[in-house]
Amino acid sequence: MEEVIARMQDDKNGIPIRTVKSFLTKIPSVFSGSEIVQWMIKNLDIEDQVEALHLGTLMAAHGYFFPISDHVLTLKDDGTFYRFQTPYFWPSNCWEPENTDYAVYLCKRTMQNKARLELADYEAESLARLQRAFARKWEFIFMQAEAQAKVDKKRDKIERKILDSQERAFWDVHRPVPGCVNTTEVDIKKSSRMKNPHKTRKSVYGLQNDIRTHSPTHTPAPEAKHVHVQIPVINTACFLCFSSKNSLLAYTEQYVEYDPFLTPSDPSNPWISDDATLWELEASKEPGQQRVKRWAFGIDEVLKDPVGREQFLKFLESEFSSENLRFWLAVQELKKRPIREVPTRVQEIWQEFLAPGAPSAINVDSKSYDKTTQNVKDPGRYAFEDAQEHIYKLMKSDSYSRFIRSSAYQELLQAKKKVKNTCRLKVYLVELPKLAIPVKPKNMSNKMAPACRPYQLGADRVSITYYQNVLQVWIIN
């Protein structure tokens, strides 16, 4: 952020700073809100004003520049005047100003007679609170404030204006107006590392204090003691970049129609329409056409979807080869069990699928079989890992492709919908009187049901009615 500020302050390309004459006084060293916005749009690749205002407001909230006549640190795109903060007060100096400093500052403010420097309500409250808290030290604080006020009076008027406003802005950041965000708050995960050795706990005004208020921060967590020397990992897989990027593209293109942020979902996105039909449909046993289509993307899609798994299992049962899938599912289940149950389950799976004479014997290559036999003696969650991998590859290359080509799957994909019995086509004619068809029965009124005049068009019975200027063609099948 400071880099941007430095650019802004640059003499040639930065924001022009000037002194404005207004009524009786001069306002030194200011620039307007709209100037900041313009500069940002031009120099920071920002497209619109909203973003520039947002960023600018943040910079103000962090204390890099401030409105000269407002405690609330925001940026407005108009003629409001702003001033840059002096680097002494920049957040990068890691100030954590004490309450004693704040007390001195508020006290000093009360000593200045100018009406426009009066304390705001929240500041007056803070002052009262601090007076109670520092009752014993108050004399010291008062003396400090007096001393500073004296020094200030000796300064040049213009310079004083600038310094006063900068000091005020500093406190606006560190003691924000109630309701404003305190930008000095740090993420506790970072602060507990205490990486920054420059963290300044010294007083802003150089006061020597023995009684310090306890800032509401945490106690630092103990540092890790051992020194890790990270040995770079030699990555084993290193495919050609081009092909893997293409596969990323392919994946995205394939799933675009399933992405509710890019394609409207059907039925509608429940969040938009307040209608949870989409979720109810997904929970039901009847898979929609889009869902079934997804199973063809890869075996993982079938295994991920409970209904897909069911259908796949049914298909395999019809081929008398369901033991592969059942084994795979059993091993997945095993890995999800609590560790206590693992040994028993391992035995059960072994007995069911792999032991000599097993009821649902699966075909594994001899190497995996041997390894598994070893693993079963000391059962752990990954006892069947090799066997499972082998079976997975088998299913992927063989059973899965047959499933996708099977008639059972194709039928689900077609998803024939029930056809309605009556289908009505409404035909609106503009100049009806010119029609030669004698359709209006004699005793028909607007409120009565239209009379039907059946015709036969091929195999379908068709009836044509005329009612309220509308020619209706009914096809009944």
């Binding site: 920002i46 770079p232 990992v233 495919f239 596969s247 995205t252 799933y255 942020f261 429940p270």
Partner: protein
């Protein structure tokens, strides 16, 4: 990685030098293999149409910064944890608060919903990760049922259930990640290799996969094998702490968000960074990322209170979401991709979705 003791003649300094030179050599090798960038390959793809994302639900109820949230598999419920020590389970669709637990330690930095929807896990500055079963009885005191599962020597920064309610994976400020058995609290596997706090982790979205990625304050993102505890791949291209890591939906790539104000996209098979998402006007650190369902969009939450939506393939910014009044601590897309929830230091959670014109 194995941490052996110093051999004779070696010092920490000399080992560090050796490690640096090895690292440089690796980088050179990687560069030789690299060819054109992702966005060039993606030129043939259509540009995204104008994206209009609306925020219509605001979940209010936390008394302090919301630090973490997670969706339930039923696509409408979510759990959120906050600096005020509260963990709340919401039905985001109806805006109802369904459960609330008050924890003794106030900074609850991580929370996760169990796959079954029957429990939540949370952890933070208490160095522990605890699991709470969710009961249907509203009057029941959930804190009483608390089960302490993970124990670290520093704060818990992230936690997630694996494919079942029975195992939890945690990342911690003590530089390690660990896999725990929920029922017994036993440590099943620990993962050493980061040289500083680990801030985030994510499980690979694969039926057969056994890997996860973690990112930390050592600017590294590491891929781990859950079975052996080995660090199988490592990426170091960020210039500052990595705050969040998330897998691409296919599991072949992942994205990371960092304090250096960039988000980066890493391809696992090509073994390198393939895209950087940055802009001159984005100068605040990114704290969280998540992909949309197809992987085309990357939602990233920043410390400047905004969420930038990046076009993953083209590398450009598709949209920017305003609305939060303080840092965005977490963004998560719902399991079916229909909505995006963002948690923030302004004490609220917001749910947004795409509106079609």
């Amino acid at each position: 990685m194995a941490c052996q003791g110093l051999q004779g003649g070696e010092t920490v300094a000399s080992l560090k030098r050796e490690s640096e030179s090895l690292r440089k050599k690796l980088e050179e090798e990687r560069k030789k293999l690299s060819d054109i960038e992702l966005n060039q390959v993606a030129e043939k793809i259509e540009v995204l149409g104008p994206l209009s994302i609306k925020t219509r639900r605001v979940l209010k109820g936390h008394g302090n910064k919301v630090l973490c949230m997670d969706w339930c598999k039923d696509k409408r419920r979510l759990v959120s944890s906050s600096q005020d020590g509260k963990v709340i389970v919401w039905d985001a669709f109806t805006l109802n608060k369904e459960h609330g637990v008050a924890l003794p330690c106030t900074w609850v930095m991580a929370c996760a919903y169990a796959p079954s929807g029957c429990a939540v896990a949370c952890g933070g500055l208490d160095n522990k990760c605890s699991v709470f079963p969710l009961s249907l009885d509203k009057n029941e005191n959930l804190s009483a049922k608390k089960k302490s599962v993970a124990m670290h020597t520093n704060y818990v920064s992230g936690c997630t259930f694996t494919s079942s309610d029975m195992q939890i994976l945690t990342s911690s400020g003590d530089g390690t990640c660990a896999l725990w058995d929920v029922e017994s609290g036993q440590l099943l596997q620990s993962f050493h290799g980061h040289t500083a706090d680990v801030l985030s982790l994510d499980l690979a979205p694969s039926e057969t996969g056994n890997t996860f990625v973690s990112g930390g304050c050592d600017k590294k993102a590491n891929i781990w094998d859950m079975r052996s505890g080995q660090n199988i791949q490592s990426f170091e291209s960020h210039e500052s702490d990595i705050n969040c890591v998330k897998y691409y939906p296919s599991g072949d790539a992942f994205a990371s968000a960092s304090d250096d104000a960039t988000c980066r996209f890493y391809d696992l098979r090509a073994d390198r960074e393939v895209a950087v998402y940055q802009k001159d006007s984005v100068i605040f650190g990114a704290s969280t990322v998540d992909f949309s369902l197809s992987g085309r969009l990357l939602f990233a939450g920043y410390n400047d209170y905004t969420i930038n939506v990046w076009d993953v393939l083209k590398g450009t910014r598709a949209s920017i979401l305003f609305g939060h009044e303080n840092r965005v601590s977490r963004v998560r897309v719902s399991p079916d991709g229909t909505a995006l929830c963002s948690a923030s230091w302004d004490n609220t959670l917001r749910v947004s979705w795409a509106a079609y014109l």
